[in-house]
Symmetry: D2
Subunit: 350 residues, 4 copies
């Protein structure tokens, strides 16, 4: 019963196979190889547009370089107050960009467009003391397992566009959000106003396949230097390319994401059916946040379940009835089995 994180699983068999398939022979490194170019072309087809792809080691790197590439002296990047950028990257985005992050509130992990407009308004164009707006970043799926609808993305993008600010999407769980919305990659990104995408594959079945995808050709040239300077330009980059090939071929990435989401839905059903647990938020993707008695959480762990207690985010500090309860996060992945989920459900019945 492994629900601690989607990065606790290893890699899917197809991903491993792709590495083996493409491991032979000699080929140019540093993203100049044939396979790297194939993957870029494949992503271009999937996203229905020209784009540039920068493989990176981690989501922190993708996010940090994205923000860095659009920041100038005194820039401020607006993101949700619970965003990974703000809370889980040890100051990486600020370090790489030399820019401040401005947290914006919003329900269900989603930046409130009106609150964004208010936050931006605090930086009048003729008053440099405060700094200046630089970019907007949203997370899809969000940090609490919800997914912005296309309309919600569009409303945030509209505010960004009003102020001529580039929009970045942290897509660490992009595939899970995509299949949740049953939309296309293009619809969920550049057609909705996104110009930079952190495209995560690691949590969804790869070993290490993260990419910063840039839809704006004007930024790509600059990003290449940020990318290399940051120590993120892999020499044997084909090992990432191979993973992405295995990931994207035959829509395998979507298949894996659908499975992970289905496992979360199944988990949510068990939770709703249990007298000992209640959903903190209705899950849209592959994470479920649940309120449990601490004693119950202890029992579940004794029975072999792994999962993390979650510091109640600012916007949900009223979730808990009293100190005997706590908020917990459970995450499913391509590797989660229905049996595991049902075992957890059984354990929940007490």
């Amino acid at each position: 019963m492994f629900f601690a994180s989607d990065n606790w699983a290893g890699a899917d068999a197809r991903i491993n196979q792709a590495i083996l398939d493409h491991g032979g022979g000699f080929t140019s490194g540093y993203n100049n190889g044939e396979l790297d170019k194939q993957v870029e072309a494949q992503l271009s087809q999937i996203f229905e547009c020209d784009l540039s792809v920068f493989f990176v080691a981690t989501g922190t790197a993708a996010n940090s370089l994205a923000i860095a590439s659009v920041s100038k002296a005194g820039s401020v990047t607006f993101c949700h107050e619970e965003a990974h950028l703000v809370s889980d990257e040890c100051g990486g985005p600020e370090f790489f960009s030399g820019s401040r992050l401005c947290p914006v509130p919003g329900r269900l992990g989603k930046m409130d467009p009106a609150a964004l407009r208010t936050a931006i308004a605090r930086f009048p164009a003729d008053f440099l003391h405060h700094g200046r707006p630089g970019a907007v970043s949203i997370t899809q799926a969000t940090e609490i397992g919800t997914v912005h609808s296309l309309e919600e993305i569009g409303r945030i993008a509209a505010v960004a566009r009003e102020h001529d600010l580039p929009l970045h999407m942290d897509g660490a769980r992009f595939a899970n959000a995509l299949v949740s919305l049953e939309t296309t990659p293009a619809q969920m990104t550049w057609k909705a106003g996104v110009s930079l995408l952190s495209f995560g594959g690691t949590k969804n079945g790869c070993w290490c396949a993260e990419a910063l995808i840039c839809f704006d050709p004007a930024l790509s040239g600059e990003l290449a230097f940020h990318h290399k300077r940051a120590g993120q330009l892999f020499s044997k980059s084909r090992f990432v390319a191979a993973q992405f090939k295995g990931y994207l071929d035959d829509d395998h990435w979507l298949t894996m994401a659908r499975h992970a989401n289905a496992m979360t839905a199944r988990l949510a059903a068990h939770i709703e059916a249990s007298p000992h647990a209640r959903l903190a938020v209705k899950p849209d993707a592959n994470e479920v946040f649940v309120v449990l008695k601490k004693a119950m959480a202890g029992e579940l762990r004794q029975k072999g379940a792994t999962f993390y207690e979650w510091a109640a985010p600012l916007s949900h500090s009223d979730l808990l009835k009293d100190d005997s309860e706590a908020l917990y996060r459970l995450v499913t992945s391509f590797a989660t089995s229905a049996g595991e989920v049902d075992a957890f459900g059984a354990a929940l019945k007490g």
Copy 2:
């Protein structure tokens, strides 16, 4: 006849097998897994000391974080004028450290200890305008395929120690240097005065296995934050750990390095036997620098050889007789075959 770089090869079969072997099941990420700890213990045994290991995506990252961790405001890091830090990392070490690199001359890619002492002396302790010495960095094997002897490392380390400066070793080709000297990892590093080591496995048969090894416990705590902030803390870190396991088990890394070095020696013999080529430098490890008529280089390429022209480094600008000649670099690896080398030798005969 692939001699362009040791990163043109894929990964050795044992490395791939190790990834497959350790891919099953669920385990904690972010360097907290069991396998990660095993590898740290294994390296500790190999280096005969306590140490901390930080897996990173690239050698640029290892070098940059090493320098960053020992730099303060106004620090200057001394390295050879042809060092990878200075010439091939797009300003990464300076960006991460906020520190300047001061190039130091020296024959055969090795920093001259006297020149190092002179360079340091330009920063008197009571004159902060110039900045202050921060660290010394050497490359083993060097950028032109030579290897510092233990005595040479010791002489540089002595100057560093005189000025209380930490010594970093860029070991992108650590294994090749090690087997060239037929010494121990401990002798070539901390026993010689090295406190930070960029330990490269990628060029010697892995996919992506680079580590910053820290012999100084006082630095490890700080490095952990630099590492995460830089976007270098892999989530599924066991995929690097697995590679290192396959790399280190049964001294496989040394076997691969011995093979690569032998292939370079065989290549050098062909070059010395050829009337159309001459060695620029006697090779110690797995790179050979050769002077060829440009026309000859063209012919070799037509016959299928890949290799790079090399901008004559500053300390070797007198290598070329005239404009009809150029300097070329040929690199061998675990994947180079004797047949390939001999084919090149035959082609060299004209």
Copy 3:
């Protein structure tokens, strides 16, 4: 009726005289001159302790270098959500320190010690993803014209000390706060737990006399490099030293601050007596925040008063009854006359 800012006035006559008095002859620059040392000794006597003094161009520089000197990779500095560091320095503290600022709420411009403890607790020592606490900064007098009592400073300092965090004080209006409390410089700083002080003289009668005062000898050596590297080490530093001499001699700084505070108190009395205005906050120093009908503000300006509308700070967003009102800031200084204040009072009567 100039109430726009205390930096709209020129310099006091004694300050100008001091510049003239010390302008003759030749003397060593870069803080090595005799006068610079005299001023350091004088400050040492005034603060009753050993200290180091770094003259800087602006309060932004003093604050930024203070935070930079105590920050490491991933550090987070805690300050009040309305602090000048956060809102008016164009990202300077983050740029110099590579560190994030974490805004902490609190009434009347003062950080709430409990909120500070909660904020720090979000950074558990064993979880580097979030970053780590680096420093605490308070502003004395605060951004809305209040003054922390010694007890209030002590409570914040106690939380900082619990977590082993250095405490910085932004003393842009240090003198005004000091005379408001009728305490000693030592009591209000190091005896209360402050290790770094931005000591402002410019707003209180100087031209350009700002200093970063460091009570912790362990930090001074590092600060010297930050100071020079930041382009803040004046060559003819004696022109700052001379200003400080004129400022400090005969307690002239306290005399000027007392005058400025008295003018604000007089202004506040007029406001309280007026049917057209009300105090937003009871002023402790030389700034008064007042709620006016916008129409009334327009009239006052027509009669020659200068003052700024103030974006209602987060913690006071409920100050305004409706859109016809706005919040305004009025500042007095050494150069404000009672006549001016009374003229404003008369204008307020309508």
Copy 4:
């Protein structure tokens, strides 16, 4: 006999008077005051073009912000190997720009245009590993007291223009160079290809009057943010404006520079006439570099002369016959008297 530096003198009487003249009344701060605008207009007239002026605390700040405003990720700035940027600013330019400085050789403190071209050629456009050329910076007058002719500036500017690189001029001793060439400010700057100028007034009679002058409107907007973020935007900026007014009115700055240069010429004549000294370089401005027996230097100091020994710059390491000799720098200023110079001359006769 004060020849240690031109920053050992205080301020000229006219500068002090200007501060007093403009000290009364209330005026807007942060470069928004009337006087600030007058000075900008006056500089615009003197330079015969539109321009933006940013007052800064030090030459280090002017240089660092200039380089920062034109640098991007991986940028490299080319400057003379003895430039103040490289050797005397404690890493400030690198810190502010995140960019590397690449030292270029050249005789007499002047960058050799051919060497510049060679240095730039080491950064081919299609190879981002090395980084990329970002800017060129020259110093006028140079660090060893020579002055680039307009033709020499033009040749360097031509190389910069070929590569589309902005040209910065460090004019810490701009006035001394200008009167040496008997040319116009426009000829020596933007007409010759300079787009950013560090315009120094401090060494030539002011207290603290340094400005970064920007001839390129496209850069000015960005510089405003760099300037504020760096803690270089003075609140009571009129105290710098006033100094510049006193400096520029009636060509007083040129009068002072002519005097300083004449004093250096007089000093040089004494040196040439002396059997105990020889000129290291023929002086063009207000600094003279002289080779003396160390014993002689000791005698001169005993007689009351102040001056610094100078580390023989790289390009002049052959100046000294043996260890009994050393290189010394003597600087004259607006405050140097002919009597002082002649007294030194007399002392030199032995």
